[in-house]
């Protein structure tokens, strides 16, 4: 959800930028966008859809994550010429790297889990070496984590019930998404490097 906020903020900021400058809000042309839907679908059943995620076997999670992110890497490579995609792709690559190096799941340390969960959390809800809840993470001690610095090591200082742990890759993905959508409202000269422009929200009167 935290990444969706970056998308929403980027869209609103880019649209406002276009409206204030009395310009069109335009989307760059992306190739093979269906790959993103293909990549998201298994994750939707594994992590998002309430009816399936609780019964989704933990042993299948690494396969879902690795195959899904491989498809996203292919999509990124096909569209790397689109400005902003290299930021998205860098974040994806960093997350993919640490996931691949740690049993096919995103590592999170017991210390970070401790900062994430309320102090009165009942024992037995999580364990080292096990999947963390119904998410993409596996709880691993820092010493057992390969490329620890790329794992979920940051925690937003929000009220405890709304805290998130995230990685450097997540930061780049959020920044890349925001930048792409913000840039769509930029003046024409800034977009001249786009290979093709299509789709517009006409100038607001």
């Amino acid at each position: 959800m935290i990444l969706l906020w970056a998308v929403i903020a980027g869209f609103i900021a880019g649209l406002a930028r276009a409206m204030i400058g009395r310009r069109a809000y335009r989307a760059p042309n992306v190739r093979h966008f269906w790959l993103v839907f293909l990549a998201f679908l298994p994750q939707f059943f594994a992590f998002n859809l309430g009816a399936t995620r609780s019964s989704f076997p933990d042993r299948a999670i690494p396969l879902v994550l690795v195959s899904s992110q491989t498809v996203l890497l292919l999509f990124t490579a096909l569209n790397i010429a689109v400005p902003g995609f290299w930021v998205l792709g860098s974040g994806l690559a960093l997350n993919f790297l640490v996931i691949l190096a740690n049993r096919g799941m995103m590592p999170i340390s017991p210390e970070v889990v401790g900062r994430l969960l309320p102090a009165n959390t009942p024992p037995g809800l999580w364990a080292v070496g096990e999947r963390f809840g119904l998410g993409k993470d596996v709880v691993l001690n820092q010493g057992d984590t390969v490329l620890w610095f790329l794992s979920d090591i940051f925690v937003l200082p929000l009220p405890q019930a709304h805290r998130w742990a995230f990685s450097i890759g997540d930061v780049l993905i959020a920044a890349g998404a925001f930048w792409l959508l913000w840039r769509m409202g930029a003046p024409q000269p800034a977009r001249q490097s786009d290979r093709e422009i299509s789709g517009t929200i006409s100038e607001m009167q």
């Binding site: 989307a27 993103v36 998201f40 974040g91 959390t121 809800l125 809840g133 979920d152 998130w164 769509m184």
Partner: protein
């Protein structure tokens, strides 16, 4: 306010909606943040 919303909707191209959707799904699938709520299922 109602007129502004109608103007906004009228001027949205389907490719804009599709692109924003693609970026949102990409971010969801590529990112791996962990939330407190995750533990609750």
């Amino acid at each position: 306010m109602k007129n502004a919303f109608a103007l906004f909707v009228a001027k949205i191209d389907v490719r804009i909606v599709l692109f924003v959707l693609v970026i949102a799904l990409f971010a969801l699938a590529a990112g791996a943040p962990s939330a407190t709520i995750t533990i609750g299922g």
